[in-house]
Symmetry: C2
Subunit: 415 residues, 2 copies
Amino acid sequence: MPDTLPHPQADASLGPLAGLRILELGHFVAAPFATRLLGDLGAEIIKVEPPGGDPVRQWGARHQGHAPWWSVHARNKRCITLDLKQPEARQIVLDLVQHCDALVENFRPGQLEKMGLGRDALLAARPGLVIGRISGYGQDGPYRDKPAFGVIGEAIGGLRYLTDQPPGTSDLPPVRVGISLGDSVAGIYAALGVVAALWRRDNRQAGTGRGGEVDVALTESVFSLLEGALPEYGTLGSIRQPAGGGIATAAPTNAYRARDGIWVLIAANSEPLFRRLTALMGQPGLVEDPRFVGNQQRVRNVADLDAIITAWTATMDGLDLERRLDEAGIPSTRAFTVADCATDPQFLARGMVREVQDPLHGPVLHPGVVPRVDGAVPPPRSTGPDIGADNAAVLGELLGKTPREIAALKDAGVI
Amino acid sequence: MPDTLPHPQADASLGPLAGLRILELGHFVAAPFATRLLGDLGAEIIKVEPPGGDPVRQWGARHQGHAPWWSVHARNKRCITLDLKQPEARQIVLDLVQHCDALVENFRPGQLEKMGLGRDALLAARPGLVIGRISGYGQDGPYRDKPAFGVIGEAIGGLRYLTDQPPGTSDLPPVRVGISLGDSVAGIYAALGVVAALWRRDNRQAGTGRGGEVDVALTESVFSLLEGALPEYGTLGSIRQPAGGGIATAAPTNAYRARDGIWVLIAANSEPLFRRLTALMGQPGLVEDPRFVGNQQRVRNVADLDAIITAWTATMDGLDLERRLDEAGIPSTRAFTVADCATDPQFLARGMVREVQDPLHGPVLHPGVVPRVDGAVPPPRSTGPDIGADNAAVLGELLGKTPREIAALKDAGVI
């Protein structure tokens, strides 16, 4: 039987996870991103920070002294402070989880255990708790204690090696995907695992009422994206190689530079699309050029082909090129900057870019909710709050602390 | 009230989603990856293919005439064939969904509707069905009908622009992340959305018993990963730029080439780590070099700094360099190839690389399950099956078709 709990009043319009309450002991990107996704889907999120705040509050560019990212990264969250080194703070966490369905954390493995907040202690306080844990390398194994850095984890997961020009074509280092990809993907996986474990706990057919532990490693999250690379290596001994801007098995598909320097992606490797492209280029004879007959030949002679296409794209500006390709029905796009994303008619029509009022910034652009459920495009319920903004409300509502008790916790540096 | 159904016997050891049955109308990467994740977590998956099979069966390298990727991509699935252009096949889908909890598809928007299998038809047949839909641009909006290609969607999501050398440093095109990143991330989001909607349907507290629609766009999935880029653009007008192998706000952190050409990642941008690195390099004076005092100065003079580090890394082989950095406690790793992943002690200890017997290939290396729930590292229950391998079993078990009826469907080209 599940332990029954006073749940927040589920307002179905908030999203499919309305009615769930989740405690975040997170910092930086991975765990806070996981809870942001869960909050976007309607769960109530309580984020615990040290009294000095999550360092990510200062990350990225500043506007009026504050990081705009925070407005999004901590949206739909209540923020409370706890100095987890203090025993009273530990007890408050144990009290809080009795009112929560899940906890998501990304301390280094073993840290929570040292604080007396390991899996066993948490499940003893609340047997129905689902504990989502994100780390660099996982909660066990010989390397679990290594320090986790996103760029390191992405390289161990096999992604950095593949994000490069083909071997021998450039002396520049392999490129970092310009975002915290490993952290973000680990965050999505953690959200998935937490909700799956909650379904197991709560479902009417066979719900166990029990919580459990979800263990997500950044390295493994990245490694999981490598398609057939592992089975191909295992059966054939072949080692997947980087292919620069192209794809090793298809041509033409690459980014081509326009006269004004804008890169335009063109994916025209099927026969009909290649025919359309050569017609648009005014060089229909290319489809009969023995170097380019069929995808296999085109792949073999891709350098020649890309040079011919580039000579054409370099004769016009990027927007003009993009429009002409589009009119010809050839899959294509310029490489969007964030400014392009922010003004894209499709993103705007789908509520993926929306202006939100933030007390710290005034209007801020927020990305919408992924995935979209039942067509709803809910606006954020709140923007990222100040440090400890919800201390009194959360400790009062859930734990019955009086203003005097809360003041005493503050004086003692517990919150 | 939910409609009650004959559910597969839930064997909890299969994973947290044991007891769920999910129909896949998918092809290529995104939808099949979503259901692979759900199957990895214990759900029963029934994949529907056209009688000719999913084209992805032929993708990638071949071993003994078959693509090793398929062994992984379709593991834990039952495969049946249906020619959805035929009315009888449509009816079979409607009959099947009455025995399923969810359906995951990645047809172009509007295609299922044309076949008489749109949202309304499916929910009429099974009000509790959760329909997970993955497309390039989403189910509505002005661009919903554009053809979806992964490389195009990733560029529209803002990723390709950021995966490049810094502006002005290279004439080579921005690099494609060497994997189907957009498809895979959309697949994870779809899995999350489907399970969230199933929690909403099934949970004891307030379950609605109703299904619904989960709408995931590849472009939006990628765009969701851009951290603070959108709010920074909105408040400051700044457009996030690519930073090559480094990070725009931290130094040193990059990939550095060893004597034998191996790239080694070094992340030593904090003061203690930079001190350790310079000591290991035998150039402790660098910490007092005015160009390199503090992260901010180092970022400003990153080209000088990276040149100095590269001159040092070029004096030794990659494995030697990696070992020395590791012993000095500096976050670092060589850029793993898939061969490195396949032999990594941590991956092996965590069951992330395991040999699986496949009837088509003999031993094949399979990646493990992400996320890991309650410490379990379940082996695949099955490898990717032949086309239509489960036609008789599925149509017999679930719909009560006799061998004679099944043979007739086959003769008519319905299956």
